[in-house]
């Protein structure tokens, strides 16, 4: 296979061509309430071709590897047709030719753990939830995705690499009267099965929160100073800023390119934001991206100033900026797109207590509950929160949505904690068609934002 694919891209009369071929193994186990609803373990395969010719580009996904030769030829013809629709040719930044193998080496390899043991571990956590009062139902899922990938390009790169990501995650659903509340939990997020053991205490804390939320009330709608916990702050930086660091989104958006020139001041000096696939153990950790480029640490914001951006070879050429190794595809059905790896706010000097003491009328928001951005507008939920009055934490609040405009909100980050922590579940949706990427890590310390809009009653 390796030699055959390498020959196909080498022989194609294109400016550049690559093929990625994958064999993927997935295991999923799911409980819904008491029911073991899903046990499935299976393999799929497929590939993806990219061709640049005459400054135009075409891509193709395929299921049948026997068809790859004719698919590459068709893509070449499409790329030439695409070139006619452009006044400026697409170019690729120079990248080193890479040959070699990049396997993963987990402490406890999930592929060696019996399916029975995975089910048993999940059942254990699920039972812990279900035996508590007020619990209406649970959702608990074990998810394992292992991918062996082969990448060849017309420049001579031949790379075999592995991705492996496992996790246990789910939701606790509580109900009293007509009130239903949901709180999430997640363990794992890397290749090591041993990270899934001994998490009872954390899970029970989550169940306690889901019960207390039944007595909480929604926040009053308005504009407030807020503290975000690390989970919520990480989602904020991922959703609101991180996506605008991805150069493929900016490439053809002149207004944002202007707003996001390197050297632009985006926040106060305390603000530092980094994307780094090379730190091990997080959902977005990897050696090599799906364009055959090694992942590197990129400092996106340094002392409040925009200093870096995430790139493909195409966008790096377009922007005249260094390669970052952020081109990734969820699986063979998709073309790679520019994505964050592990994005995080670097730790600062403030303590949580100082942040609370600095707020007269505001909220402490905890636990991310999904988010969405469109350009510089963001909105996302928190799973729960607390009122802050006169420098003191007060009663619990629920059903919280916050929204705002990125640039003013970044400038409004006025305190950053020293307690950096990373989430254990990756997750990010991007692209048309949508690619849901589990291998997307995020982290942050507690942060204080002086003004955000909260929805509520």
């Amino acid at each position: 296979m390796k030699e055959r694919l390498a020959r196909i891209v080498a022989d194609l009369a294109a400016d550049y061509a690559d093929i990625r071929y994958e064999e993927n193994k997935k295991t999923r186990v799911a409980y819904r309430g008491k029911r073991l609803e899903l046990v499935s373990s299976y393999a799929t395969s497929g590939g993806h071709v990219r061709v640049y010719a005459d400054g135009g580009k075409a891509t193709a996904s395929f299921s049948d590897p026997g068809r790859v030769g004719s698919i590459a030829d068709a893509s070449l013809a499409s790329a030439r047709l695409a070139a006619k629709g452009r006044d400026r040719p697409l170019r690729l930044a120079d990248a080193p030719v890479v040959t070699g193998e990049f396997p993963v080496s987990p402490r406890v390899d999930p592929l060696t753990v019996k399916l029975e043991e995975k089910i048993e571990l999940l059942r254990h956590y699920n039972d812990l939830i279900l035996r508590e009062p007020d619990v209406l139902t649970s959702e608990a899922e074990y998810d394992e995705f292992g991918s062996k990938r082969l990448f060849v390009n017309s420049e001579g790169s031949i790379i075999e690499y592995e991705l492996l990501n496992i996790g246990i995650f789910g939701r606790i659903v509580t109900k009293r009267g007509n009130v239903v509340q949901r709180v999430r939990f997640a363990f794992g997020g890397n290749e090591d099965f041993s990270r899934l053991y001994d998490r009872d205490e954390e899970l029970m804390e989550r169940v306690a929160i889901a019960r207390k939320l039944l007595d909480a009330s929604p926040p009053r709608a308005g504009i407030y100073p807020v503290i975000l916990d690390p989970d919520e702050a990480a989602v904020f930086i991922h959703e609101a800023f991180g996506h605008l660091s991805e150069a493929d989104g900016l490439q053809n958006n002149p207004a944002f390119r202007e707003k996001l020139k390197i050297g632009t001041t985006l926040g106060r000096e305390i603000l530092n934001v980094t994307d780094d696939p090379t730190i091990p153990g997080h959902p977005g950790s990897y050696d090599i991206d799906d364009e055959g480029v090694a992942g590197v640490k990129t400092r996106l914001i340094t002392d409040g100033v925009l200093t870096g951006r995430l790139h493909s070879r195409e966008t790096a050429a377009e922007f005249g900026e260094p390669l970052s190794g952020n081109m990734r595809a969820v699986d063979a059905h998709f073309t790679p797109i520019v994505r964050m790896s592990n994005i995080f706010i670097e730790p600062g000097n403030s303590s949580f207590e100082e942040m609370v003491a600095s707020i007269d009328d505001g909220y402490y928001l905890v636990g991310a509950r999904g988010g969405q951005t469109s350009g510089d507008q963001f909105t996302f939920g928190a799973q729960w929160g607390y009122r802050i009055e006169n420098g003191r934490l007060g009663g619990m609040v629920r059903d919280i949505n916050m929204s705002g405009e990125l640039f003013s909100t970044l400038r409004a980050i006025s305190m950053i904690g020293s307690d950096l922590s990373f989430g254990e579940r990756g997750g990010c949706g991007k692209g048309m068609p949508m690619q849901l990427n589990r291998k997307s890590g995020k982290g942050a310390p507690h942060i204080k934002i002086d003004r955000v809009t909260l929805g509520g009653v």
Binding site: E37, K57, S63, R88, T373, D399, G456
Partner: protein, 438 residues
């Protein structure tokens, strides 16, 4: 009958083959330039079996690959009690969901369509970074069971979307169209895009309080998705649906009639059978505001002691696909038109919002009917649009706030697909929703 089913018959109690083959071409323009083309040939298979009364599933690329039955049997060893049987033999209604002209479309045809959109918009708005996406898919779907279901369907879908971000706003204006047949340039769609884009020059933030809201077809999911979540037999069975014991009750305004209509000819979401091989049927869900039925698939139907309504789809809030377990969803949800021209809705309002989208929907408590989103759309004052909404959140509960609907438009358009693909829906004027602005 596929030989995999014949083979399965000899070693398990029941089996269901789901086999999907998509051939898709698409072209994408960004900032008026052709950015790239794709051509995908993808095949995927799901095999579910019942063995020893337990359910097991496995997935693969094509039905010929070895080991599928063994893998599914292995999964069934750990599987839940099936509690239902796979779909039996049935006659499927015919529906026009295939056009051979769509199958014959080439990338060059899609480029030609995009070029026409491009030229028309460039006449008026050469300065905006216009993007255009056009695609055509031919799908061969097979759903066959050992119980005799033999669904084979070939469908086509042609899609066109275009839009542009608004300078300095971070959001954009987007329009889309879809059809079973090749799409032509729809002048009305272009005109509305240009009109909406023109409305974005000024921004405007309403005062915090309650205001009337016109929900455009693009934003209909703010109402329909919480409704679909409540109608799902899954939520009814779990006890989380707010619609339990409400059949026969008026739950929203009598102006709202919602029909799941998988057999509407020419709609790209139409189909003769669901992903479990159960025949699809036209089914009123809300009849003049009165709840008439829940949606079930085989599994939730059996749990509720009733048959599947033919709504078992491999769909999730974001995407789904062959590896997704069937769940009850509307197949092709539509809302009946009213008699008010949409422009009269706008001119009738002293102050209100025309909502064309919302951000943050999925982080809200929508399964309970609630929504709280950052509103995308326009601010109306004295019967006229005064600008695009800025820093505006709307929130509410469809089972409270949609009890009072002032008007439903006579115009209908396909919603935007995405989280809730469906058929045509009108503009809906809701008496008032909570608005958080200035």
């Amino acid at each position: 009958m596929h030989e995999l089913i014949e083979k399965a018959r000899r070693s398990v109690d029941g089996a269901e083959l789901y086999w999907k083959r998509d051939h898709t071409i698409s072209v994408r323009y960004e900032n008026y330039r052709l950015q790239g083309m794709t051509e995908d040939e993808l095949s995927s298979v799901a095999l579910r079996v019942i063995a020893g009364a337990r359910l097991g599933a496995t997935y693969g690329v094509n039905p010929e690959e070895p080991g599928l039955i063994e893998q599914a049997k292995q999964a069934a060893r750990f599987g839940d009690e099936a509690g239902f049987s796979f779909a039996g033999k049935a006659d499927y209604e015919s529906v026009e969901n295939y056009d051979k002209r769509s199958e014959a479309l080439t990338s060059a045809d899609l480029v030609a369509l995009c070029e026409r959109v491009k030229e028309r918009i460039a006449e008026e708005r050469p300065e905006i970074p216009l993007f255009i996406v056009a695609g055509a898919t031919k799908r061969d779907l097979v759903v066959e069971t050992t119980a005799g279901a033999a669904g084979r369907d070939t469908s086509t879908r042609v899609t066109l979307g275009f839009g542009a971000p608004i300078k300095g706003a971070g959001i954009g204006v987007y329009k889309s169209d879809a059809s079973v047949s090749p799409l032509d340039l729809d002048p009305a769609l272009i005109d509305e895009f240009l009109e909406w884009y023109g409305w974005t020059e000024n921004k405007s933030t309403p005062k915090t309080g309650r205001l009337p809201i016109i929900l455009a077809p693009e934003a209909a999911y703010l109402f329909l998705l919480p409704l679909a979540a409540g109608l799902s037999g899954e939520a009814v069975e779990k006890g989380t649906s707010p619609l339990i014991d409400k059949i026969g009750e008026r739950i929203v305004s009598e102006r709202l009639t919602v029909i799941d209509d998988p057999l509407r000819d020419g709609d790209p979401g139409s189909r003769p059978f669901d992903d479990e091989g159960v025949p699809c049927r036209r089914r009123p869900l809300l009849d003049a505001g009165v709840l008439t039925d829940y949606l079930t698939d085989l599994r939730t139907g059996a749990a509720l002691g009733r048959p599947s309504t033919g709504n078992g789809l491999k769909r999730e809030l974001f995407g789904g696909g062959t590896e997704t377990r069937p769940n009850p969803w509307p197949v092709n949800i539509t809302v009946e038109p009213g008699d008010t021209p949409y422009r009269e809705m706008i001119s009738s309002l002293d102050e209100g919002l025309l909502v064309t989208g919302g951000m943050g929907f999925h982080s809200g408590n929508y399964p309970q009917g609630e929504f709280a989103v950052q509103a995308i759309g326009f601010h109306i004052k004295n019967g006229k649009v005064v600008g695009r909404l800025d820093r505006t959140m709307i929130s509410g509960n469809i089972y409270k706030d949609f009890k009072d609907v002032a008007a439903v438009s006579r115009e209908r358009r396909l919603g935007p697909g995405g989280m809730l693909p469906g058929g045509p829906v009108p503009y809906i004027l809701v008496d008032s929703l909570r608005v958080a602005g200035e």
